[in-house]
Symmetry: C2
Subunit: 303 residues, 2 copies
């Protein structure tokens, strides 16, 4: 018997990329589950997962979830429905299913219909990541001091919600419960739109006829390199985010381009005051983020 009623007996992770692999490592390091099983659709990834010692790596998703009291889907949000369908009949009675997707309304929509009665669905979104993908990129500290947002549907078993929250806190995260639709709007502006813009500017730069790629590389320290880091994130994961959070992303994008037109006009007409007053306002936001503990001042990272 597990002595800690909050922790899980058997954790199953479906999808062993950066996030899935990091959960395996973190869960074992912090003793968040008695045993950890993992499955990935790619045989190559499974082989790496074995070599990295991520846990018991199974040949099918069904084997991984068999007997698991917590199942976390760490696959692109476009794939959760298929995975849920594949594992549904193999889930233990009373098990809890969670995920790690950056869009949450679509998780409720795509996963819930497949789950048998008595299985709890507690969608979660660890707001953490790096520019790297795959099991080799995983590390146990990924979730430390990061927020993890839970978006259970109304009426979800509160014990299940509490245990999933405790799981993420055990991995070092701070947790918050939020309505799925609100989550999708918040993340559209804090994450999805920044990624879309970063992807876009990197492409715009690449397409220039008069500036060579080598020049773009060499002089990227002026701001561009931060965008390229964001734009190096996993292509399939991000494709699915945009397709599954369409309405919120399009709304934020509309506001962004509206605001950008005002700046464009200020530059064209030499409106110094508009530019300077806007640039002053944005500094305060940065200070707020440092105070909120979501980043360190850059100079602390310098030699």
């Amino acid at each position: 018997m597990n002595e800690n009623p909050q922790s899980f007996q058997r954790l199953a992770i479906i999808g062993l990329g950066l996030i899935g692999a990091s959960i395996c490592l973190a869960a074992r390091e912090h003793g968040a589950a008695e045993s950890v099983a993992g499955y990935d659709a790619s045989a190559d990834v499974r082989k790496r997962a074995v070599a990295l010692g991520l846990g018991e790596i199974t040949e099918t998703a069904a084997e991984a979830v068999a007997g698991a009291d917590l199942v976390i889907l760490a696959v692109p949000v476009g794939a959760v429905g298929l995975v849920a369908e594949a594992i549904a009949t193999h889930l233990a009675a009373g098990a809890t299913v969670s995920d790690t997707g950056s869009v949450k309304e679509s998780i409720l929509r795509d996963v819930a219909p497949h789950l048998p009665k008595g299985v709890h669905l507690v969608p979660s979104h660890p707001v953490a990541g790096t520019e790297f993908s795959g099991p080799d990129a995983g590390f146990a500290a990924l979730f430390e001091k990061r927020w993890c947002i839970l978006t259970p549907a109304e009426g979800t078993d509160s014990t299940a919600v509490g245990r999933v929250a405790a799981f993420w806190r055990c991995l070092g995260s701070k947790t918050e419960v939020m309505d799925a639709a609100h989550h999708d709007r918040v993340l559209a502006i804090t994450s999805h739109l920044p990624h879309l813009i970063a992807y876009n500017i990197v492409r715009t730069a690449e397409d220039l006829e008069t500036v060579t790629e080598s020049e773009v590389f060499k002089y990227s320290a002026g701001g561009f390199r931060d965008f390229t880091r964001i734009a190096a994130s996993d292509p399939v994961m991000w494709r699915d985010v945009f397709l599954n959070n369409k309405d919120a992303v399009l709304e934020m994008l509309g506001r962004f381009t509206e605001d950008l037109s005002e700046l464009q006009r200020a530059i064209r007409w030499g409106d110094a005051e508009t530019l300077e007053s806007l640039f002053r306002r944005t500094r305060d936001i940065r200070r707020g983020i440092i105070e909120a503990g979501q980043d360190e001042p850059e100079h602390l990272k310098k030699p």
Copy 2:
């Protein structure tokens, strides 16, 4: 007599913000000049510069440049004309004037007309910086391994150009000579447009009615925080950059919004293929930047 014919007797820095202060510190650390004098229009900044031991801090720009064989203007690009006018009659015969601005055609346009015959103008742009401003933010290592672009007008004394290049290399930079107009196009895409976009998205986020500022802070780790770091840069410096590199910035901005419209359309119509193939392309750019040594992979910065 200075034994190294490449180094300077007296270096004068006008403007003691992040860049000016860092030049003072780096020049002294590397012995790039026998003595270092500095001036800033703000009495508060001069006081801090004295306390920080940046060099001989003078009460006027004229005193700082008196007897200097290298004068570097480290002020916002909109102010270089006024500074050049103020120091013109005090410059030593045969002195070299340089600067640190992020726009270079306007430097040639605004500074050259004021300089007496026999004084050389070698504009330079150290592509380096942090989100912080002011003398306290300066540090000697700021220019190490960063590019510094020189944009002398045709016919500029080649010895003067060579000595300014040697000066920056002495501070740890790699140097490149480039046509001023080409520089302004390259930097418009690698630096100016990224800053404009970062400023803009931070404002868009702040203006949202349904997402609180506290939520934006908390969940910024998803991408937004990189933009806020860029958008915390000095407001006056950036105002001047956009006003003085108007044509190139407006051109890049036009291309960017054109490309963004294509992505917007792909999201609206669920065009998965367009999104994924673009996201795959941008990864390669990131790899190029890491190979060009302009950034480290993020995981190397992790614990």
